[in-house]
C-alpha cells in the first residue's frame, strides 16, 4: 500500500507532468480572470488537447486548469466588480471596495492565501476520505447505484437550476442524448437516424464545448452589445501596508479560513451544490461570527478569505463523489469524467482497485497544482491583472475559432463541429427559457451508468420481483428522492397558485 502511494507520487513528479500542471494553473488563472470565461469553459476547450498527452499529464493539466480558474475568478471580481466566475461574486463584495481604496493588490493576495488554504484542506480531506468511502461503495450493487443516480440527479436538478421541473427535463434530455449510438445489450445502432457518424455515440467534447464555451460567448456578446463595453481604470497604491498582507492579518483570518474550508469541503462533496453555494454560505457564516459584521461589504479581509477558501475547497472536494461513486459533483468534475474515459478509465470505486497508483499520482498533481497556484498567483499578480482588461472584440473571436478547432480535434471530423454548433444553439435557447445546461451535461455523463444499472435491476428483478425492496440502502435513497420530488412539486404548486 505504502509502496503504491510512493510510486504514484513519483509517477507524477516528472518534469513533463509538472510543467503541464504549471501550464494548467497559469492558463486557468488567466481564463478565470477574464470576465465571461470560466473554468468549465477552459476545461471544455482543453479536453481535446488531452488526447495528445499521457493520462497522468492530461488529468494533472486539467486539474491545474480548474484550480487556477477558481482563483482567477476572484481577480476580475476584486478589480472590476465583475466576477469571472459565479462563485467569486461573494469575493467581490469586499474585494472591490478594497480595490477602490487602492488596495486591490492586498485583496488579491488575501484571496490567493484563502484559496490556497481552502484547497489544501480539501485536498487532504479527499486523500484521507476517498479510499475508505470507495471501499464502502464497492458493496453497492445495481439497485443502489440506480437509486443513488436518481437522488443525485434530483438534487442537481433542484439546486442547480431555477426550477426542479426544468432541471429534471434538462437532465432527462441529456440522458436521452446519451442513449444515441450503439445499444449496450444488442450492440445495434440506436436513434442514429441513419447517420453512420452517430453510431459511435455523441462524444462529450462537442457537447462540452458547444454548451459551456460557445453558447456562453454568444450570450456574453449579446450582453456586451446591449450594455456597451465600459473601460475600467485600475489604480494600485504604492504603500507596502496597502499591497501586502501582514502575518498578523493572516493570523486573524485563520479561524475564518478553517471554518470556510470545512463548509466548502462538505458542500463540494455533495453533488450539485457547487462552489457558489459554498462561497455564499461561508461568507454569511463569517459575517455572523464576526465581531464587526458592519465592516462586511466595505472591504473586510475576512469576507474575502471566507468566500475564497470555501469555493476553492469545493474544487478538490467535488472529486470525492467522482472518485468514490463515479458521480460528478459539479460540471468541472463531469468534464473530468470525459477526460478519464478518453484515457480508458472509468471513475468510481473500482478505480481504487484497478488504478490505485494512478489515483495517488492525481493526488500528487493536486498538491503540486496547489503549490504552483501559490507561486504563480504571487509572481503573476500584476500580469493577471492585465488579463481582466483584455478587449472582448479580440478575445471572443479567438475563443469562437478555438471552439471550432477544438471540436474538430476530438475525432478529426467536421460532423463533430456541426454537433458542437447544434448543442451551442440548444444551450442558447435552454438558457433563454430557464433550462439548466449543467443538468443536461450531467444527465448525459450519467446516462450509460444509469442505463446499465436500470437494465441490471430489471433483469435481476425478473428472477426476484421483490429484489429492490430487499436492498434497504436503495429503498432509503429512493424514498428520499420521491420525498424531494413530491415536496418540491407541492411547494411549486402552492407558490404558483398564490
Amino acid at each position: 500500500m505504502f509502496d503504491l502511494i510512493i510510486a504514484g507520487f513519483m509517477d507524477s513528479l516528472t518534469i513533463a507532468n509538472l510543467l503541464f500542471v504549471l501550464l494548467g494553473v497559469t492558463l486557468g488563472m488567466i481564463a478565470g480572470a477574464v470576465p465571461g470565461v470560466n473554468g468549465p469553459m477552459a476545461i471544455a476547450l482543453c479536453v481535446p488537447l488531452s488526447y495528445y498527452m499521457s493520462p497522468m499529464t492530461a488529468i494533472g493539466f486539467l486539474v491545474g486548469l480548474n484550480k487556477g480558474a477558481f482563483y482567477g475568478g476572484a481577480i476580475s471580481g476584486v478589480l472590476l466588480n465583475t466576477p469571472g466566475t459565479p462563485e467569486a461574486a461573494a469575493t467581490s463584495w469586499d474585494g472591490y471596495p478594497l480595490s477602490k481604496q487602492g488596495k486591490g493588490e492586498k485583496a488579491l493576495r488575501m484571496a490567493l492565501y484563502g484559496s490556497v488554504s481552502g484547497d489544501f484542506f480539501a485536498t487532504w480531506v479527499l486523500i484521507l476520505v476517498a479510499a475508505p468511502l470507495a471501499a464502502v461503495a464497492l458493496y453497492m450493487g445495481p439497485p443502489e447505484i440506480f437509486a443513488l443516480i436518481c437522488l443525485a440527479m434530483t438534487i442537481i436538478a433542484g439546486i442547480g437550476s431555477s426550477s426542479m421541473t426544468r432541471g429534471l427535463i434538462a437532465a432527462a434530455l441529456g440522458i436521452f442524448i446519451g442513449t444515441i449510438g450503439m445499444e449496450p445489450v444488442s450492440a445495434l445502432p440506436r436513434l442514429t437516424f441513419g447517420l453512420y457518424q452517430l453510431e459511435r455515440g455523441i462524444a462529450l467534447i462537442p457537447i462540452g464545448i458547444g454548451m459551456l464555451a460557445f453558447s456562453e460567448i454568444i450570450i456574453q456578446l449579446e450582453r456586451s452589445r446591449a450594455n456597451g463595453a465600459g473601460e475600467a481604470t485600475l489604480e494600485f497604491s504604492k504603500k507596502p501596508e496597502d499591497r501586502f498582507v501582514s502575518f498578523a492579518e493572516f493570523r486573524r483570518s485563520i479561524k475564518t479560513i478553517f471554518r470556510s474550508s470545512i463548509a466548502g469541503t462538505i458542500v463540494g462533496a455533495m453533488p450539485g451544490l457547487g462552489a457558489p453555494v459554498a462561497s455564499f454560505f461561508a461568507y454569511d457564516r463569517a459575517k455572523k461570527a464576526s465581531k464587526n459584521p458592519e465592516n462586511y461589504g466595505k472591504g473586510e479581509l475576512d469576507g474575502i478569505v471566507a468566500s475564497e477558501s470555501a469555493n476553492s475547497a469545493v474544487c478538490a472536494s467535488a472529486l470525492i463523489p467522482l472518485f468514490t461513486l463515479g458521480i460528478p459533483g459539479n460540471v468541472a468534475s463531469a468534464l473530468l469524467i470525459g477526460a478519464f474515459v478518453i484515457h480508458g478509465m472509468i471513475p468510481g470505486p473500482l478505480m481504487f482497485e484497478q488504478n490505485a497508483r494512478f489515483i495517488y499520482s492525481i493526488y500528487s498533481s493536486l498538491i503540486m497544482a496547489n503549490i504552483f497556484l501559490l507561486v504563480v498567483g504571487r509572481l503573476g499578480l500584476r500580469a493577471s491583472c492585465k488579463a481582466v482588461s483584455a478587449p472582448k472584440t479580440i478575445l471572443y473571436p479567438i475563443i469562437i475559432f478555438t471552439c471550432l478547432m477544438g471540436s474538430y480535434l476530438g475525432a478529426y471530423n467536421t460532423f463533430d463541429v456541426i454537433l458542437m454548433l447544434f448543442f451551442a444553439f440548444l444551450a442558447y435557447f435552454m438558457n433563454k427559457w430557464g433550462f439548466s445546461h449543467i443538468c443536461f451535461i450531467i444527465g448525459f455523463i450519467l446516462s450509460p451508468i444509469w442505463e446499465t444499472a436500470l437494465q441490471q435491476v430489471i433483469i435481476v428483478s425478473q428472477l426476484d420481483t421483490f429484489m429492490f425492496f430487499k436492498r434497504p440502502v436503495a429503498v432509503i435513497l429512493m424514498i428520499i428522492t420521491f420525498y424531494i420530488v413530491i415536496k418540491t412539486t407541492i411547494n411549486t404548486f402552492k407558490k404558483t397558485a398564490k
Binding site: 445499444e183 445489450v185 444488442s186 473571436p397 475559432f401 454548433l421 427559457w433 404558483t496
Partner: protein, 161 residues
C-alpha cells in the same frame, strides 16, 4: 410576453415534441427487442415519458394558477414583462451572424484551404464582435490563424480540415 405565457408556450412545445418522439422517433429508430436482456427502447421511452409528464405537470400548474387568480395575474403581468429573457429578431440576427459563418467555415476550408478561409472567418467574427480597426483585424486574424496552423500541423500532427 409574460413569463407564464412563455412558460406555457415552451411546455406546450415540449409536450408536442415528446409525443412526436414517443410515437414516431423511438419506435422507428431503435432496434427490435433481441429476445434477451432489456429492450433498447426502454430508456428512451422512460426518459421521454418523464419529460412528457413533467411538462404536463408544469403546464397544468400554470393553467390552474391562471384560472384561480385571473385578476391578480393581469396586474402581475406588467411587472413580470420586464424580467423575461427575450429572444427577439435582434437576438436571432445576432445568433445567426455567428452561427452561419461557423457552419460555412469548414466547407470553405475544403474549398479554398485552411489559411484563407480561417483568415476571412476571423476578420468577419471580429467585425461582428465590434472591432472596426483594419490593422487590428488583420494582425489578430493573421496571428491566430498562424499559431493555430503551426500548433495543429506541426505541434499535434493533426490532418488539417
Amino acid at each position: 410576453m409574460t413569463r407564464k405565457k412563455r412558460d406555457n408556450l415552451v411546455s406546450g412545445g415540449i409536450i408536442l415534441f415528446s409525443v412526436f418522439v414517443l410515437a414516431w422517433v423511438i419506435p422507428n429508430f431503435t432496434p427490435p427487442y433481441p429476445g434477451y436482456g432489456v429492450s433498447s427502447a426502454l430508456l428512451p421511452n422512460v426518459v421521454f415519458g418523464l419529460i412528457l409528464a413533467l411538462s404536463l405537470l408544469s403546464l397544468t400548474t400554470n393553467i390552474i394558477s391562471d384560472f384561480r387568480n385571473k385578476s391578480a395575474v393581469n396586474n402581475k403581468n406588467q411587472a413580470e414583462k420586464n424580467d423575461v429573457p427575450v429572444v427577439n429578431r435582434v437576438h436571432l440576427w445576432h445568433l445567426m451572424s455567428i452561427m452561419i459563418p461557423c457552419l460555412l467555415l469548414f466547407p470553405a476550408m475544403r474549398l479554398v484551404g485552411f489559411v484563407p478561409a480561417a483568415l476571412v472567418f476571423l476578420i468577419l467574427m471580429q467585425y461582428f464582435c465590434g472591432q472596426r480597426k483594419p490593422l487590428i483585424l488583420l494582425i489578430v486574424s493573421t496571428c491566430t490563424v498562424g499559431i493555430m496552423y503551426l500548433a495543429m500541423r506541426y505541434g499535434l500532427g493533426v490532418p488539417m480540415p
